[in-house]
């Protein structure tokens, strides 16, 4: 793995900091795993955050549903014209179905986002802990520095 990528994954404040670690240091593998998992969760969070256009679509479907459903109800009640009421009713059904589908997708994405954030936080804590132990910190010191 290129050095620049490792620097991104490290938790150190100073990117020029060098620490010597034995190849068989038990915390090295644990740190690598936690840092890679943390990066993977960050990518997942960014993928989910890029779903922003779904909210615009939901708002548009809300527009369409409110206009067509309200219009259909009023057209039917006032007898403004059965063909108009039927057309609006079809639009109402379609836009409500779209609204529910998009709403369901957003709810699922929101759940995935929350899970990805929790996982990122856990992997970040693990990476910080194991990095601290590689630097020679005690268990108590490193647990204090996890957060």
């Amino acid at each position: 793995m290129p050095g620049t990528r490792w620097r991104e994954l490290l938790c150190v404040d100073n990117p020029d900091e060098v620490i010597e670690v034995s190849r068989d240091d038990p915390y090295l593998q644990a740190f690598r795993l936690a840092a890679l998992n943390r990066q993977s969760r960050l990518s997942k969070i960014e993928d989910l955050a890029a779903q922003w256009p779904e909210l615009g679509l939901l708002f548009f479907e809300l527009y369409a549903a409110s206009g067509s459903c309200g219009g259909a109800a009023v057209a039917a009640m006032t007898g403004a014209g059965i063909p108009l009421a039927v057309a609006l009713l079809l639009g109402c059904g379609g836009s409500v179905a779209g609204f529910l589908y998009t709403g369901n997708e957003i709810a699922r994405d929101a759940g995935d986002l929350a899970n990805a954030m929790i996982a990122w936080w856990q992997h970040d804590s693990d990476a910080r802990y194991n990095f601290c132990r590689m630097e020679g910190g005690s268990d108590a010191d490193c647990r204090d520095r996890e957060g």
Partner: protein, 141 residues
């Protein structure tokens, strides 16, 4: 609610709604790439342009002819209410991520700021329209 008040509230709601939709579409370019980004910018400009050209008055006119003051008045409150809720979701999600400490790219923070702005604009339209409707009912009673 009187006709003039209904018209004002309805047109305000649709104007803010269209600007929100245009703003949401244009800001989608920030989280997209290539052709999609260009398409989102064009769509945003088209919607904002249509709002500035007076499309919101036509929407109100159509609803008024279709359902009278009742439908126009109902949507004058319902549309900004929906916009307030929908556009509050993104800043809450991104804010939560930042609070946890996730090092998110700046573009997501910019989009969250845009979304918060759209949420506040819809909230303002909701408050003004609700106050106008309630004030008018009180003055008539």
């Amino acid at each position: 609610m009187q006709t003039a008040e209904t018209a004002k509230a309805s047109e305000r709601a649709w104007f803010v709604g269209l600007l929100s939709l245009g703003g949401a579409a244009a800001s989608s370019a920030l989280v997209s790439e290539g052709t999609s980004a260009v398409a989102y910018v064009l769509l945003g400009l088209l919607i904002v342009g249509a709002a500035l050209a007076g499309l919101h008055k036509r929407i109100h006119g159509f609803l008024h002819r279709l359902g009278g003051r009742w439908l126009a008045g109902f949507l004058a409150v319902f549309v900004p209410l929906g916009g307030t809720v929908v556009f509050a979701l993104y800043p809450v999600g991104i804010g939560f991520a930042l609070a946890v400490g996730v090092p998110l790219d700046t573009k997501f923070i910019v989009v969250a700021a845009v979304s918060a702005l759209l949420c506040l604009a819809n909230l303002a339209a909701l408050v003004v329209n609700t106050a106008a409707i309630l004030g008018n009912r009180q003055s008539r009673s």
